[in-house]
């Protein structure tokens, strides 16, 4: 990590670079959404694309999310590869019908004759002091929709690699970008970006033997921090970054849990009906006899996302994660 070319880049920069490289490599890639042109998007992820590729390749659309996704469907039918930006998570909801009733089903509906290679980029999650409707975590909705891939990066390198993979995918991908990691930095070389594994592979971010923290997106750094802090309390925690919720990498996750015998699922999204339920249930189904304790969940509360001044109470933090680890029935071990 100390070669000359490598310098710190933010996740937002890596995403921009991924879009740029994808557009340069394939003229059928079109970026579209609200304010993605001259402004470069409210998070500047599409910065410079309209200038480099012209307004027909990076298009400011009218303000209508169903229209954006619906026209993207038509464009994909004609062989383009639209990359749609939803400005904030909650503003993807108007496009819900198009996403569920068409995007996720068109391939299946037509027996594979009309695949829809659409990437829907959705900035998600809280922690940026956003007012109401600007901090939702809606991954549970997408997970429950067969036909979609659901991908979310947690590192700068993954942001690049997974977005390239998503755009290249012949299936629709909901690409969830953790808002509060946009400005996270890492040493990363834009001229030689590392490729990542195909969509659907989780990765062990930290090995450990006491218990597994299963997590993704914005909660990955929090879990890594918790793992560090946990050392002081005698726990050696493994952290698995799912990277994609769909497909779900049972193999990597279960291998880890079988090793450690204990697991906590961590995410910002509300707990009830959230991703953690599915994850806990499938891990338990597959690893029951390896489990020393039930798989626990640390998640957002089952409430509408709080206002900025209260959000820190809602977001899973280090202490709450370690509290859950502490409840993993350690006495049962001895």
């Amino acid at each position: 990590m100390t070669t000359v070319a490598v310098k710190p880049a933010t996740m937002a920069q890596a995403l921009t670079r991924a879009l740029r490289d994808a557009m340069a490599a394939d003229p059928s890639v079109h970026v579209m959404g609200e304010d993605v042109g001259a402004l470069g998007g409210v998070f500047r992820v599409t910065d410079g694309l309209a200038k480099e590729f012209g307004e027909t390749r990076c298009t400011d659309t009218p303000l209508a999310e169903a229209g954006i996704l619906g026209t993207a469907v038509g464009m994909a039918m004609y062989g383009l590869r639209p990359v749609v930006e939803m400005q904030f998570d909650a503003f993807a909801y108007p496009a819900f019908e198009q996403l569920i009733s068409h995007v996720s089903r068109m391939r299946n509906r037509t027996r594979g004759r009309m695949p829809l290679p659409i990437t829907v980029r959705v900035p998600y999650g809280g922690g940026i002091g956003g007012v109401e409707h600007h901090s939702d975590s809606s991954e549970a909705y997408y997970m429950a929709t067969p036909g979609l891939h659901v991908v979310t990066p947690a590192t700068v390198a993954d942001a690049y690699g997974l977005l390239r993979r998503s755009i290249a995918s012949d299936d629709p991908v909901v690409f969830l970008e953790p808002k509060r990691l946009y400005w996270s930095k890492d040493s990363w070389n834009p001229e030689h970006p590392t490729d990542v594994e195909p969509i659907g592979r989780a990765v062990v971010r930290r090995t450990g033997r006491s218990a597994t923290l299963i997590t993704y997106g914005p909660s990955v750094p929090v879990c890594l921090e918790a793992a560090e802090a946990g050392q002081a309390e005698g726990w050696d925690l493994e952290v698995v970054d799912l990277r994609s919720l769909v497909p779900f990498d049972d193999e990597t996750v279960c291998a880890s849990v079988r090793r450690t015998g204990r697991a906590v699922v961590v995410h910002e999204s509300g707990g009830f009906g959230g991703p953690g339920g599915e994850i806990a249930a499938r891990v338990t189904e597959r690893c029951f006899h390896h489990l020393e304790a039930p798989v626990l969940r640390v998640a957002g509360f089952d409430i509408p996302y709080p206002p900025p001044m209260l959000e820190r109470h809602h977001l899973p933090g280090v202490d709450r994660i370690l509290d859950a680890v502490a409840r993993l029935q350690w006495e049962a071990e001895g």
Binding site: A66, T71, G74, R107, N108, R113, M114
Partner: protein, 381 residues
């Protein structure tokens, strides 16, 4: 800053940026639905075209009758008949070139087959063996769309993409009067106008959205008047006058092809049958209304015109009927065969590459089916 501090003299003036983006006058539809048959305009109509329309109308009506019969025999899950609306269905297909695209709604099977799709394949959705039977790319016909108005933005996107690629392709999208109330209608028309996409929107105003009459759907002077709010021309046409619908749609397609952008066409027609075979129309409308429309039947109108002008002889009528009967017999025969189904198909096209999870589920179903077969073979339960 107060007036005392302002630089320069105050000149009352209109808001600086404002100017009309288009002249509204040419966008407004005619006061009454445009007609050709029985009017002077008919003289200009191409006899060959009129005969072709006639043959297709007869065929279309026969198809509707046959499909409805098939519902009674349990061969279709449901059928939304377009009887009375054949002129719109047929003209929509005939106004397009082969390279163009059609975006039908769930009621538009006739337009789909008029475009060349196999009559049996066009019924797959309604028969229930799969969601779409035909290859959309083969005839450039999108799948029949069940969620109302959702196909309109698809048409816009496709037309826009074709234009970006430099291809000479127009998309024609069909929707009902009820469908115009959906947000997707609005968003599609707006995108089309802003992008000047080569797309034609055909609203079949057949008076009802299931049981809801037009008066409860809109207070607009006409549905065609909606066009002006998007900055595109609106055209109003008698939807039972096949020649008129064909002309108006052809004009709109040509206009789009030449880079003139989208058009909204409202075709005033009437749904003669119930909403579908499952519907009970007596709950919401009387016979008088239906009868009035029967007198304005699209086949009658065209037949009369052709007869008056000596363009229709018994021969043509007989051949049109025979043609329709042959199609109907073939449809009946083939629809009476059980389709071949493989439950494993459920899993194979959810994703480009079937996930491990789905392979597991596939294996489970296969095992279940084999077990059931073994049970049967052994005479077990």
């Amino acid at each position: 800053m107060t007036v005392m501090e302002q630089r320069g003299a105050y000149r009352p003036s209109p808001p600086p940026a404002w100017q009309p983006r288009t002249d509204p006058a040419p966008l407004l539809p005619d006061e009454r639905p445009y007609r050709v048959l029985g009017t002077e305009a008919a003289a200009k109509a191409d006899p060959e075209l009129l005969r072709r329309l006639y043959t297709q109308l007869v065929r279309g009506r026969r198809y509707n009758a046959q499909a409805t019969a098939l519902t009674k025999q349990g061969r279709l899950a449901v059928y939304p008949s377009s009887t009375g609306q054949e002129a719109c269905e047929v003209a929509a297909a005939l106004a397009l070139q082969e390279r163009d695209w059609l975006f039908p709604s769930y009621r538009d099977t006739l337009a789909v087959i008029a475009r060349g799709v196999d009559p049996v394949e066009a019924l797959t959705l309604l028969r229930g063996d799969w969601h779409t039977g035909y290859d959309p790319h083969a005839h450039r016909v999108a799948p029949l769309s069940t969620p109302l108005a959702t196909q309109l933005p698809h048409a816009v996107g496709l037309a826009h993409a074709a234009r970006l690629k430099g291809d000479d392709v127009v998309a024609l999208a069909m929707v009902g009067d009820g469908g115009t109330s959906e947000g997707d209608f609005h968003e599609a028309l707006n995108f089309a106008a802003v992008w000047q996409a080569p797309v034609v929107f055909l609203v079949q105003n057949n008076g009802f959205a299931i049981s809801v009459p037009l008066a409860k759907q809109t207070a607009a002077p006409s549905l065609a008047h909606k066009a002006v709010g998007y900055g595109m021309p609106g055209r109003l046409v008698d939807g039972n006058d096949a020649a008129a619908v064909h002309e108006v749609l052809s004009d709109a397609v040509r206009h789009a092809r030449e880079g003139g952008g989208p058009t909204l066409v409202e075709a005033v027609t009437y749904r003669i049958e119930a909403h579908t075979n499952a519907d009970d129309a007596t709950r919401y409308r009387g016979d008088a209304e239906v009868d009035a429309w029967r007198d304005h039947d699209p086949i009658l109108l065209l037949e009369r015109e052709l007869t008056d002008r000596g363009l229709l002889d018994e021969d043509i009528v007989r051949r049109a009927r025979e043609d329709a009967e042959t199609m109907a017999a073939d449809l009946r025969d083939r629809m009476n065969r059980d389709p071949e189904l493989d439950p494993m198909d459920l899993f194979d096209q959810v994703y480009a590459e079937t996930t491990g999870q789905l392979r597991e589920q596939r294996a489970m179903l296969r095992a279940e089916l084999e077990a059931a077969q073994n049970d049967q073979r052994e005479g077990g339960h």
